[in-house]
């Protein structure tokens, strides 16, 4: 239609979230009253004006170099994580529920990790299958019997949540190794404050900019005992890592050096960094490097990214690492299925945030069910990240389903299956106006002596119409996540 809109005054009047729960409007039985003022303000805006502001924001993100690297044919390209200017809003009550749920989950996973590297009660009691842990590629025998401060293994956790058609939050995945994305949470907020101050005016939004401070606090807490002024560093694989911007961001927010493996040396089981004044001791390392690359002497001998001898320094208690070595076991998509049972086992509680119903294809019944309902299920490999290797039944061709069936039969233990979750949607600026797009949410929790959850989290948005995959490597974008301040719940 080439006829221009008569009046652009009511921006959201023709918005239709479809059958999904909407993050700004709520669901059929649970309207989002808390977002009424925000909806009203958005409605009063001109669409072109909104687009202009969105473009300003993206240009600024690019100029600031808030980018991640994408490797195409030959060269690395700097990309921004596309940013959508319409925020996703979470009420105070919803948040206190999520916060409690995330804390509960972190607690259970830390107890689980301590257990499997010590007495293995949960394995002996048959709650979690033994081979799932001991044959797990991320199980580190070097950690057996080793004590870590406060029995905390996962110091930084990113829990992927989705919201189903009923508006129920569910856990999709635990990221207990090196979860990414918190820099976008903070930078997106800064961006919104610059380009959209009128939308935020007088709305009590909980701040997110003390993440670095909280992280540093935890890093100091876990430093070896007796060190008066612990030196914290952030260990990055270097400027060619796709998350390098985040490493810069976190080092800066904490006010600590951003080091690479080549900047560190181990002497007499102590870690030092090379400075302009020679070697200076290092006590606490936030490492954004997987176990396998951490210490060529202990793990992958070909890795040039790590620090020879650092494992021994760690085992001797001379340096703290976050996250601890060997947390990958809890990160596993197969182990994920057992987390509700862990919560019951260790804490004697019901899970505050339920999992997405998940079937573990290593179990014969589950495999059979999965094969029988392939066209209705999402099948995921347990060892892949970044949204790769996933088959979404209802959207797959017959050939793709057959391929998936063959893979399942060949290696059932490598797969889990889940029903398709109709992810909630949020109004999003698109070329065709304001349209619903699917979102997920990754809150971040920091644990030293105790656990703190950043009020908000990374809301990723699937920018392509209809798609459910919000992953950044698959063309997703992000939104600012507003957790409203307390009071009326």
């Amino acid at each position: 239609m080439s006829v221009p809109e008569a009046k652009p005054t009511d921006l959201l009047s023709s918005y239709d979230p479809g059958p999904y729960h909407d993050e700004l409007f709520g669901g059929r039985d649970c309207p989002a009253d808390h977002a009424a003022l925000i909806r009203q303000r958005l409605s009063g805006l001109d669409f072109e004006e909104l687009r202009r502001r969105a473009q300003d924001a993206e240009r600024e993100l690019y100029n600031l170099g808030i980018t991640f690297l994408v490797y195409s044919d030959k060269e690395a390209v700097d990309r921004i994580l596309p940013f959508d200017i319409i925020p996703r809003v979470i009420s105070a009550a919803e948040w206190s529920h999520l916060e409690a749920g995330v804390k509960q989950r972190v607690a259970a996973l830390n107890l689980f990790l301590h257990d499997i590297y010590h007495d293995q009660k949960i394995l002996k009691d048959g709650v979690v299958p033994r081979d799932l842990v001991e044959r797990n590629a991320n199980f580190r025998p070097q950690m057996v019997g080793l004590d870590v401060p406060f029995d905390t293994y996962i110091h930084i956790m990113g829990t992927d949540l989705v919201r189903d058609r009923q508006g129920t939050f569910r856990v999709l995945e635990d990221n207990g190794r090196v979860p990414s994305g918190v820099s976008y949470v903070v930078e997106n907020r800064h961006m919104m404050q610059r380009v959209f101050p009128d939308l935020m005016q007088d709305i009590g939004i909980r701040p997110v900019d003390n993440y670095g401070h909280k992280l540093l606090e935890a890093m100091m807490e876990i430093a070896p005992q007796g060190v008066v002024d612990p030196q914290v560093v952030l260990l990055s694989p270097g400027s060619y890592n796709s998350a390098y911007f985040e490493h810069i961001f976190l080092a800066r927010e904490m006010g600590v050096p951003l080091v690479e493996g080549r900047d560190l040396v181990v002497e007499n089981d102590r870690v030092y960094m090379k400075t302009t004044n020679g070697l200076a001791p290092v006590h606490s390392i936030y490492r954004r490097l997987d176990d396998a690359f951490l210490d060529p002497r202990a793990f992958n001998p070909d890795s040039l990214l790590g620090v020879p001898g650092i494992l021994e320094a760690y085992r001797k208690g001379n340096v703290a690492l976050a996250n601890a070595i060997g947390t990958g076991v809890a990160d596993d998509k197969a182990v994920y299925c057992y987390v509700p049972r862990m919560i019951k086992y260790y804490l004697d509680q019901e899970p505050i945030i339920p999992n997405v119903d998940t079937r573990i294809c290593r179990e014969p019944d589950a495999l059979q069910y999965t094969l029988d309902h392939l066209a209705d299920l999402v099948v995921k490999p347990v060892g892949e990240a970044g949204g790769y290797g996933i088959t979404i039944g209802p959207r797959a061709s017959r050939a793709e389903l057959e391929e998936c069936r063959a893979k399942l039969l060949a290696d059932p233990a490598n797969y889990i299956s889940q029903p398709v979750v109709d992810l909630s949607v949020c109004p999003t600026v698109t070329d065709d106006g304001i349209e619903p797009r699917h979102v997920d949410l990754r809150p971040f929790a920091i644990t030293g002596r105790s656990t703190w959850v950043l009020p908000g989290g990374l809301s990723r948005v699937a920018l392509k119409k209809g798609t459910l995959i919000v992953n950044s490597s698959q063309g997703g974008g992000s939104k600012d996540t507003w957790v409203l301040e307390g009071g009326a719940a």
Partner: protein, 325 residues
């Protein structure tokens, strides 16, 4: 906070690349505008010689035409001394340094590099060269200003100053040398109109023309110009001024931050400074300016090497550098 050896080296090189870019833009601009012979032609080849790029240049170009030289020094991503390469290097160092430098410094270099990169697709037509050079100079000076106004004054600041002043002194000696070697057609022409106009070009390349005029309202001789550029205590690009700054920075690094290394570098600087202060320009010219400039450059290289050994870590891999001079 402790300064990583690798960061110190990156800061040093970032400063050098930005300084070098500004110099090159000024040289290209001044050549276009002023460095013409009596028939109005410009000797673009002298820029290739100035940078000791003959080999690399002729591997890709047959003749040093205006178009070839300008393209080579502006936009050729393969040429190690092109503005585009310098900016890429400065940006790579800045990217590594992002936790250490101010957001404003990073953003400006990032955007500057991006604009230059986009520009390389089109040709810069000759009438526009001066405009583009002016823009580049202004961006470099913006960088200097932003750095002055936002860079936190700790160790990193001093390593930045070291890089900047070493590069400046180096550029000034090169410029003087090229005038003596290339721009001058024959000894017969010393003091001729052409000779004088070339000395003015040299002064303009270092933004020193008006300052020089203030000191020497009358007369412009090789001795006064060379003396001004080497020994003037008030001219920001004179070799003496730069070396004094280097001396001061090294002293402060060692006293304020109690850095143990650097005594060898300081000795080299002392030696250099003594050499600079002990000889009047007439004597220098009599014994050979070229030899004298060579000696200065040798000393500067010595200082740079000592700094590297003292502070950047001998066994540490190099920061992002494509060129060592």
């Amino acid at each position: 906070m402790n300064l990583l050896a690798r960061y110190a080296e990156c800061i040093f090189w970032m400063a050098r690349y930005m300084e070098r870019a500004e110099n090159l833009a000024r040289i290209l601009d001044v050549h276009e505008t002023f460095a013409r012979d009596t028939r109005g032609a410009t000797n673009w080849f002298s820029i290739v010689q100035l940078n000791a790029d003959e080999k690399d240049f002729f591997s890709r170009h047959d003749r040093p035409t205006a178009e070839a030289v300008i393209h080579y020094y502006m936009f050729d991503p393969q040429a190690p001394n092109s503005l585009l390469s310098m900016l890429r290097m400065a940006r790579e160092n800045a990217r590594t340094l992002r936790p250490w430098i101010s957001t404003e410094m990073w953003t400006q270099i990032n955007v500057f590099h991006k604009k230059l990169q986009e520009m390389s697709a089109r040709d810069v037509p000759m009438p526009n060269l001066s405009k583009v050079c002016t823009w580049i100079k202004e961006e470099c000076q913006t960088h200097t200003g932003i750095t002055e106004g936002t860079f936190y004054r700790d160790q990193g600041w001093y390593f930045y100053q070291l890089g900047k002043y070493i590069e400046r002194a180096d550029q000034t000696t090169r410029l003087l040398d090229i005038k003596y070697h290339t721009l001058l057609p024959s000894p017969m022409e010393v003091g001729s109109t052409l000779d004088i106009s070339q000395w003015m070009t040299v002064l303009r390349c270092t933004a020193g023309y008006h300052a020089f005029r203030r000191v020497y309202p009358r007369g412009m001789t090789p001795a006064t110009v060379a003396g001004f550029m080497l020994f003037n205590e008030g001219f920001p690009r004179s070799v003496v001024m730069c070396v004094r700054q280097i001396d001061g920075v090294l002293t402060r690094l060692r006293s304020r931050y109690e850095l143990r290394g650097g005594s060898a570098a300081m000795e080299r600087v002392d030696e250099l400074l003594a050499g600079l202060l002990s000889r009047p320009i007439e004597g220098v010219l009599r014994d050979g300016l070229h030899e004298y400039l060579d000696w200065i450059q040798l000393q500067m290289n010595g200082v740079t090497n000592e700094i590297g050994q003292a502070f950047f870590g001998l066994d540490a891999p190099l920061a992002v550098t494509e060129q060592s001079q």
